[in-house]
Subunit: 470 residues, 2 copies
């Protein structure tokens, strides 16, 4: 990979765009073509076989476009990609995103060689190239995307950015995040990485004012020492999912993006060496933890309070707290008395505070009592309730969320809610809690791990530069 420094910004905020291989019939590239041609981004379709696409004049070649082009997006067949790259270089574009697959990952000599030629072009010209075998960039801040997604108004952004290899996943992340109210700033897929790699993007995201948390899915790294150097320098929290831990997984990586997985133990050692870098086990864990980093204040200590409607789930949380070296907060007598005054005699008010079904009546006040307790650094709220009382009797479950958020922000104590229940209950919570930036997740283990990473991050010399107001 080249060490030349070029501003990555052309990939996120291009002033003019050509889509080469633009399509108005259903095939790869259709959704992006449709979206960009109907957007405010100045976009020119290029296709040798078409005259009009979605009502726009089509150019046979990028060099026929009577305008400067900053970014070329390539979705033509793999055998035509090399020529189109050469055309784009001639046009003096600043960036190219090659989305087409079918190169080094196939291990077919002819296709591997095409990729090598493109790599040489990237080295010997001023152009920066993302791909091939990816879906490029989605920027939630200005709603620019080269991915095959329906990027409409309903997808809310946030401050988490993701770097990944896989094209298909790049599309799914965006749709999935919309379902889960995970707020992204940028999603980036790099594919086979002939030129631009995760190191370029880590540097970009470190300086991006809209990114507070960086998540990385890694298959293999070509510039190892450079990666170590940048990891050392980063001031933002980074969550890394690295697969290929196994021998058969490493072999599969070769067929996926033509990358070499490398020795997993070395990666593990590197990730552990630098504060602020955390390894996770799967995508759900990655994004659940990222959500906590993105929205919650850092805990000042290790003392976790649990408030739950299910004693069993409270105990599962205790097991995780001990396993990760955190502590169960010892509640002040006055906090317990405050809760006792409003609770039935059968509730268990030691930490974990188990309100059982009385939770419907008492949890709002109990949450505040606990959060105000000086012995508490962070609060896990486990909400396992049947839907009937909420749905049929309209029991007020979420009106207190704004107060809770204000208190949490004021006291600098993170709050996480774990919800276990019917789909209706989960969606009810997601809908109401999102605007108050209280992260919702299904897995208790992810919540506790998030608090552990947040605590560690707070102990490091790093800082999250973010606005956690509502």
């Amino acid at each position: 990979m080249s060490d030349k420094i070029t501003d990555m910004d052309v990939f996120f905020n291009p002033k003019s765009i050509a889509i080469i291989g633009a399509s108005e019939t259903f095939k790869f590239g259709y959704t992006m073509t449709n979206y960009l041609l109907n957007s405010n981004f100045k976009t020119y379709p290029v296709n040798i076989n078409k005259d009009i696409i979605f009502g726009h004049k089509v150019f046979k070649n990028i060099n026929e476009i009577p305008d400067d082009i900053e970014l070329a997006i390539i979705v033509v067949k793999n055998e035509n990609v090399l020529q189109v790259v050469k055309d784009s270089v001639k046009k003096e574009v600043k960036g190219i995103i090659i989305e087409t697959a079918g190169f080094a990952e196939t291990s077919i000599e002819k296709l591997v060689n095409i990729q090598k030629e493109i790599e040489i072009i990237a080295k010997n010209s001023n152009v920066r190239i993302i791909g091939p075998n990816c879906v490029g960039i989605t920027n939630f801040d200005n709603k620019f995307t080269t991915a095959e997604i329906d990027f409409n108004q309903s997808i809310e952004g946030g401050t988490i950015s993701v770097i990944a290899q896989s094209g298909v996943l790049g599309n799914i992340f965006v749709e999935w995040s919309a379902s889960q109210n995970i707020g992204f700033s940028k999603t980036i897929t790099l594919g086979n990485k002939v030129d631009v790699d995760e190191i370029d993007m880590l540097e970009y995201l470190e300086n991006d004012p809209n990114t507070n948390v960086i998540t990385v899915y890694l298959e293999g790294v070509k510039r190892g020492p450079k990666l170590v150097e940048i990891l050392k320098k980063l001031t933002k929290p980074v969550l890394i999912l690295k697969n290929g831990r196994s021998e058969i997984g490493s072999k599969a990586i070769k067929s996926h993006t033509g990358s070499i997985a490398g020795n997993d133990k070395i990666y593990d050692a590197i990730f552990k060496q630098y504060s602020g870098i955390y390894r996770v086990n799967n995508f759900y864990e990655m994004f659940n933890i990222a959500q906590v980093f993105a929205t919650q204040p850092l805990p000042k200590g290790k003392n976790i309070a649990i408030i739950t409607s299910s004693g069993s789930l409270g105990i599962l949380a205790c097991d995780e707290i001990e396993r990760l070296g955190l502590k169960l907060a010892v509640l002040n007598d006055s906090s317990i008395q405050e809760m006792k005054s409003i609770s039935p005699n059968w509730t268990s008010l030691k930490n974990p505070v188990d309100l059982g079904p009385s939770l419907f009546m008492t949890f709002s006040q109990s949450l505040k009592a606990i959060l105000n307790d000086e012995g508490v650094d962070a609060l896990l709220h486990i909400f396992a309730v049947p839907q009937r009382p909420i749905k049929e009797f309209s029991l007020p479950i979420t009106p207190h969320l704004k107060d809770l958020r204000n208190l949490s922000t004021k006291l600098k104590k993170p709050v996480i809610t774990c919800v276990f229940g019917s789909r209706w209950v989960v969606e009810y919570f997601l809908k109401h809690s999102y605007k108050y930036k209280i992260p919702i997740m299904a897995q208790i283990s992810h919540a506790i791990k998030a608090l552990k990473f947040m605590y560690d991050f707070g102990q490091s010399n790093k800082n999250i530069n973010k606005n956690i107001e509502i």
Copy 2:
């Protein structure tokens, strides 16, 4: 706990029922009262303060009911429970479910002593008692329930049964399972276990023709040697979630149901000693794996094939396969050729078979080719797709599921689908796959663990006696 043997069936199929503390206003017991009084189960409401509930005559005392009563369900206040138990014994009921909480789990001497007195009554009479501090039984086969759930037509049953302690969770399981299409036969919550315990219920479920898989959430066991004895004898697969692994978790168990957690290492050793007993880490894992046991044939070997639209997720699955000691199947050349004839040149057709976006066109035929391959014992199908092509272009994704199920049953090879995508995509799949009994889950690690447990179970001398036809 008493060793006397009484038929547990009275709890699942009572011929006549009294609800003591019946309510028609919103409080604990309301939903059950409403449901049972309007059902075909012969139910009598008892409440000292009421004359009519939901149009039914109310009795002041169970002994005023001019009919034999088999099952008494108690939801009165904790201080009134002892007298009501005595009344029920006088009425010669066969079973009592005490749902009221506020006994040994409070550590308040007076309340602990009430529980002890109830325990003595159970020992010295012929009645069997479940609880206190639980929601009792839900039987999906005859739609009988003592839980606070809206048990309407829309909840489909299945062959998984669950034994748990916690009352709140007992309600949630049912609602959650309906959302996820997890098919239950019986759900049982035991609370503080003054009499009936998990050993009684394991014996019952072992002999229950509608239960194929037993799942147990365990906090503490009072009859340790008996548990070991029954675990040794069971022929059905058992998945156990035991919490209180940690010191602080063990303490929390005491406040939850007054149980003693016991030394976790001893449990772990016992669970590992007997084939067919598998320990899991959380409820999602428990029910996802149970679903596979309940619906899929046992794999004959360790060779797993993966077909995926996302190379990255395929690699994560490879890592799990190696970690759990399974093998990645080596595909026959003829299977690869069969797929090659219908696939674009850029797809990767070695196992894991990565079809990328071409999956929309080719996966139905590819799934069959792989399942027919003699080197394949089980199939993991990772479905990560954007929703737009399915929703807007109505791409046919699920019509082949019936063929797939038939082939899987015929060849005795299990199939699991992991879906990663928007909520719409997940629900689309759930809706279509349920009738063909192909388990759907989000977590790849659960799918691989299910295949590992299924393989181990197949190697044991145990057998699942089940009908796996559609």
